[in-house]
């Protein structure tokens, strides 16, 4: 899914910007580094955000079913011993991890894509 999102982002790079870079003397490598990458950064970050939640979910689910270590496994083991405290701890840690990752991506989005024109601003 992330690959599709980023691919779409690269496809959407404004052709005029690529032309503008070319006529200023940019080589293909320059265009990739200085036009395609910054122009697709918003899409890359959206992909990262979507990818993050699904990968975290998948990881925990995998650990719950059959891993020898990890948070999912800890919860699973605690469940079989009726150890509620450990189970809750595991659940809370997963939640906090999710929030921290989300915050990191949000911070990156603000830092790296603040240049985007959003609705309500003058063109």
């Amino acid at each position: 899914m992330s690959v599709v999102t980023i691919y779409q982002g690269v496809c959407n790079v404004d052709a005029t910007l690529v032309k503008a870079a070319k006529v200023l003397g940019a080589s293909s490598k320059d265009i990739f580094l200085t036009v395609v990458i910054p122009a697709s950064t918003p899409f890359i970050l959206v992909a990262a955000r979507l990818g993050l939640s699904s990968s975290l979910t998948t990881l925990i689910a995998a650990e719950l079913t059959g891993a020898s270590r990890g948070l999912g496994m800890m919860i699973q083991k605690a469940q079989s011993y009726y150890d509620r405290e450990t189970m809750l701890l595991g659940i809370l840690v997963i939640g906090v991890m999710g929030i921290i990752f989300e915050r990191i991506v949000y911070y990156l989005e603000r830092r790296l894509t603040g240049w985007q024109e959003t609705q309500g601003q003058q063109k």
Partner: protein, 263 residues
């Protein structure tokens, strides 16, 4: 061109450009021959779809002619290069770079050190009167300001030929007039060969030394008009008889082409 012999900067020889579209082949340019002298200011007018932008893209090296040759400074054009700067109607500023970084962009590609590029960029930003917006992002600027940045960016890399594709087409009348006189001012300060596309006849007569009227598809040169009015051409020039005569003549020609195209 005022009689004195000048070197040819841009030479277009028997250029034909065809495009394959879904509706078959379209001949955009059909046998264009044109010479533009060094430091000359040329405007191209013609109905939309007559191949003006196609011709500009060929000179810029952004596309190749189907047949015929384009020479700039005696060398055949084989691709884009920094000796030919382009200003686009859609400004084409990099939205993730500040005004200053946009102007520095081409300078850094030329291998200039950070310090030199910064000094050069500042000089050109001052030239277009945007010093206080140096660190602004394009989204914070008005259309006229964006186009001034684009002009500074094109000028900064010191191209011999400046190609302008309807640069003021999207601006309001007052901003347009202002930018026209600024462009002429800049051009007088630092002479360049300018190839300027417009559909605004008055703009063409205000700016150009020579106006090339293109005919409707397939694009050909219909007529070349010399404009021997002194610079700068201000509001007073615009209402003078000579100005009006040239303007009316060109307008008639362009309108005829427009009607021919609608048939």
């Amino acid at each position: 061109m005022a009689g004195n012999p000048r070197t040819t900067e841009v030479k277009i020889e028997q250029v034909v450009k065809r495009f394959d579209t879904r509706n078959g082949e379209v001949v955009a340019l059909n046998g264009i021959d044109l010479e533009i002298a060094k430091d000359e200011f040329v405007c191209i007018v013609g109905p939309s779809g007559c191949g003006k932008s196609t011709l500009l893209n060929l000179i810029a090296g952004l596309s190749k002619p189907t047949s015929g040759k384009v020479y700039v400074n005696g060398k055949e054009v084989e691709g884009p290069g920094s000796e030919r700067g382009v200003v686009f109607q859609q400004y084409a500023l990099f939205p993730w770079l500040t005004v200053k970084k946009n102007v520095e962009y081409g300078l850094k590609l030329q291998g200039m050190s950070r310090k030199e590029a910064s000094a050069e960029a500042t000089r050109y930003i001052e030239m277009v009167d945007l010093k206080q917006f140096e660190n602004a992002y394009p989204k914070e600027l008005s259309g006229g300001m964006k186009q001034r940045v684009a002009i500074a960016r094109a000028y900064a890399v010191k191209p011999q030929v400046l190609l302008m594709d309807e640069p003021f087409g999207a601006l309001d009348a007052q901003t347009k007039t202002q930018l026209q006189s600024e462009l002429i001012h800049t051009w007088i300060q630092e002479k360049r060969t300018v190839f300027f596309i417009t559909h605004d006849v008055e703009e063409a007569v205000t700016l150009a030394q020579r106006i090339i009227i293109m005919s409707a598809r397939p694009g050909r040169i219909r007529e070349i008009v010399e404009v021997n009015l002194p610079y700068p051409r201000d509001q007073k020039t615009r209402v003078s008889k000579e100005f009006m005569d040239i303007k009316n003549h060109i307008w008639d020609e362009v309108y005829e082409e427009y009607m021919a195209m609608r048939k």
